[in-house]
Symmetry: C2
Subunit: 575 residues, 2 copies
């Protein structure tokens, strides 16, 4: 669709704008079908976004999108329609707000719960600088489970500024929203007994409450936003908006969870399987034998593969909502009381629970297993979703074992061995890997020698991406009659010092799907310090990795087959 000037938007009739909404919806649907991305969340806020652009004056006024997975309509309406077909493609538009992309994007998001804090900060800076504009935070009800939101609400009275918080209530996180907050919100929506009292919850935090309005009704939303904008003169406002996730596309309306994120590649790669599928199957099998096993997730049951476990053991399966910190403490305490909790989560979101991993789980040396999905470069979601820091921030934590399976079969073996391991354990893995149905056993802390040769070179690589790369380089060398040893360095902690001690090769090449600083390469370099061996580390550079195609990003960021092949050539030459 063509770019729409904010003048056009402000001048057109509401009828025309309803047409614009249909156009936007169509554009989003068609683009996401090709590029992948967040579908249902974006379809749900089309009218709301059009109304926002009609009532407010962006970029003079500022808007912060919580999580940012609902900003497509906003991008289409703020001069990016002509580039929208490049959505989530390398070098194209980001699927999230990006200050580097447009002056209309004032704050980058990707993780849940930051928008109210961010809006308050922008508004406070405005006050201190004596400027005058409106600041809006658009937040889903799923994020209202996240503790960060309450820390921000607690500050509304402290900061004495004015922001408009739009609570976009569609009853969904990626999974349906759960818990007490959700009950409070639905009570308000249904106007049930306590509605009045529930509303006062927001008023107590210093917010003027407005709502509930139908956010898929353009007319109603425009007028509500207009009066909200007025109210901002006397302080902060919470506008409670009811929207339908996936609105306008029945199949998405009916399966908002499965259409939350749509991934085109999913279909094409028939030779791949998801690690999450293995997690669901193995954990369910383990739980049948072991009553101590419980599973915890922070609003991502399906995308982590836990559905089978939740179906088989509803009493031992807990979706606590977007509460990464609480989920960790819940696991630690259940472990302290004799259970064997498994906490499945994406690598990037586990960053939220760093303190609880240190303070609660490892500080008490408790048998919690972290199943860390989407580790390494996760691709099209970009900077805020790459799982390339976990090895580095987990390595310094005492008592923690860190495992990096080389493929799904090894992941299954690690899970089977984990139940009786009895210590804090982190297993990190990518979303997909080659189909792999080997059956094997694993011993914690033991590396695996994949190829042992007489050459002077040994590759030590961890994880499927790195080992696949090592094998590809080796195949090219074999064609020239050259060979090198390959070790599956599947434990960052503890390192297999027995194996490391035994290696005779002069040149050690490390490969990992993580930033170089604090990763596997450094750990191996530390071990071989002053040993006379030469160490060459391939990992990601010290920079944030944008969105794009996984293999291509990996090659650009430091895991580059040509560079590695070239190095090996030099090493052969030096002998």
């Amino acid at each position: 669709m063509k770019n729409l000037s904010s003048e056009e938007l402000k001048q057109s009739s509401l009828d025309d704008l309803n047409g614009t909404c249909e156009e936007i919806r169509k554009e989003i649907f068609e683009t996401v079908s090709v590029c992948g991305g967040h579908l249902s969340s974006n379809l749900g806020v089309v009218e709301l976004t059009v109304a926002l652009c009609r009532v407010f004056d962006f970029p003079r006024d500022k808007i912060v999108f919580d999580v940012g997975h609902q900003c497509y309509a906003y991008k289409l309406l703020t001069g990016r329609a002509d580039r929208f077909s490049t959505l989530r493609q390398e070098g194209g538009l980001s699927g999230f707000p990006k200050r580097s992309e447009s002056e209309y994007d004032v704050y980058d998001t990707g993780h849940a719960g930051t928008a109210v804090s961010a809006a308050l900060g922008i508004a406070k800076a405005r006050d201190l600088k004596g400027e005058d504009f409106s600041v809006v935070a658009l937040v889903g009800d799923g994020s209202f489970n996240n503790g960060l939101i309450y820390e921000a609400l607690n500050s509304v009275r402290i900061l004495q500024t004015s922001v408009l918080i739009i609570l976009n209530d569609n009853g969904m996180s990626i999974s349906p929203t759960v818990g007490g907050t959700k009950d409070i919100l639905s009570e308000i929506k249904t106007g049930a007994g306590g509605a009045e009292r529930d509303i006062s919850l927001f008023e107590r935090y210093g917010l003027q409450y407005m709502g509930v309005i139908d956010g898929n009704d353009l007319k109603e939303t425009v007028s509500a936003l207009s009066s909200a904008k007025e109210k901002l003169k006397t302080g902060s406002v919470l506008l409670h908006v009811n929207t339908q996730k996936g609105h306008g596309y029945p199949f998405s309306e009916n399966a908002p969870d499965r259409t939350h994120g749509v991934s085109p590649d999913r279909k094409v790669k028939g030779a791949e399987e998801e690690y999450g599928k293995a997690l669901g199957e193995e954990l369910t099998a383990l739980a049948e034998k072991d009553g101590r096993i419980v599973a915890v997730t922070a609003a991502m049951t399906d995308s982590l593969g836990l559905r089978p476990f939740f179906s088989a053991f509803p009493q031992r399966a807990f979706d606590v909502g977007i509460c990464e910190e609480h989920a960790s403490v819940l696991c630690a305490s259940m472990a302290a009381a004799g259970m064997r909790p498994y906490y499945a989560i994406y690598s990037t979101f586990l960053q939220r629970a760093f303190d609880e991993i240190v303070h609660d789980v490892c500080g008490q040396n408790l048998p919690v297993t972290f199943c860390i999905d989407r580790a390494g470069i996760s691709g099209a979601d970009g900077e805020t979703h790459q799982g390339v820091f976990d090895l580095s921030y987990l390595a310094p934590i005492p008592n923690l074992t860190i495992a990096i399976p080389k493929d799904v079969a090894e992941f299954r073996a690690m899970l089977r061995a984990s139940a009786d391991y009895g210590r804090p354990l982190a297993i990190r893995y990518p979303r997909c890997g080659k189909v792999c149905d080997r059956k094997e056993e694993i011993e914690f802390g033991k590396f695996e020698v994949l190829h042992s040769t007489m050459s002077n070179i040994v590759f030590m690589a961890a994880g499927e991406r790195a080992l696949t790369l090592a094998e590809r380089v080796r195949e090219r060398c074999l064609r020239n009659g050259k060979d090198f040893s390959v070790v599956n360095a599947r434990f960052l902690k503890p390192l297999d010092e027995t194996l490391l001690r035994s290696r005779k090769e002069k040149y050690v090449v490390t490969l990992e799907d993580n930033v170089a600083i604090g990763g596997l390469g450094e750990a191996i370099a530390r071990y071989y310090r002053n040993s006379g061996k030469e160490i060459y580390c391939f990992a990601y550079r010290d920079e944030f990795i944008p969105h794009g195609e996984v293999a291509s990003l990996a090659a650009k960021s430091g895991l580059n087959e040509e560079e590695i092949y070239r190095l090996v050539g030099e090493l052969y030459a030096r002998g």
Copy 2:
């Protein structure tokens, strides 16, 4: 005082127990005067704790102390009175709950906001195992600002178990409690207009609300706890208790913030000054010239030295309560809007904001300065308070500059240079250092050569503790006519590669007040990889460091003068 059996406690009359309270109060006061520790928080809960031990049957019933800085009376009443004089001394009783110390301690704490999650986990495990006992969480109102508590409250209905949450409301964090939640609570206490509605906030989360009772009145508290215990049969309960922080000691009642933590050593070390004092002075001076500068703290204005800034610039100073995550996003967003935020916090508490440092501050490359106090071994508070991980978890974050001043003068210079630096900056420093009033300039990313010699050995050390140690070892060597070079490696990121490249010494010895994994030594070893130099790293071992005297703990944990001196001797011998 002598150990009291739970039988004695249950059989004695309330009058006798009031006597016991006075005894306990006296014991706490006298012990803390000698050993240091948390005074006002412990004095406030004496009656409450006696009542808990009277009504509940520990260790069969379980109690989790949020933060854990109010567990002294509990320790005195659970078989540890005879050892209480060893409080916070190396090898003695911990100042916090410790599972390793007593079966009466079921969950270790130290950081705020974990108790409700932990109690829910323990209770849920109990249900799944078909056991029968009560679980209590004792939480201060300060922690009710922390997001983790709301994530836990949101789970009360999800987990369908039963816990007793005691809200110990004394109106204080370390600083007075601030924000909307506090207003809600005081409204309940004063029975003001909205009290009824405020109470419903807790009921909405699935809690039966009881209160407000006077937690310093033994009789009233015993009967309230008894009925709360009954109510637990039908679900979770929130008992709102009003206590007076420092109760029983007027000077502590009147200055609960300054008597929150009492430190005996403070007096004796006349030759030392606090880095926090320098922070307050420099930041205030900078702010007079630069209107962009704002200061943010999470409930620790005084202990961080920010009082002068808060007095001079109340409009630009923000205490947001115990909300480490929100404080980071607030800083990031104010920076995005053109301000220059300084976020002062203890090293161990900054762990709570790890994701926000990555996702909000560094992901957007925003000019936020983290002033990280209590870095390194902080001593008597033990495992949960040592600041020995920060270099490791900060190092892998792109865009972040990490500075480690060698003394207060250098810290002041770094602060003066920071305002115009315009990038994410972390400055980490211990609580105290030698009095030091040199005036100097600093260039970011440049090391400082303290001694350049013709020897084969160079020490690269960061921070006051490490450099002092280097100097001590050097003085001993000088007495034997030996010398070595010393470099002040004051930036972990960026490393001063120009200087590193220029060093000719064969032996490089690194020293740092942080765990070895992911620290300065590894960064320098990484740089010198394959250079032929030999690298020897002194830092803390991969284990949690208990409570004790700072220098002694450091020596035991890996920064040991004798070991270093011995190594240097060997290196001289090898030439």
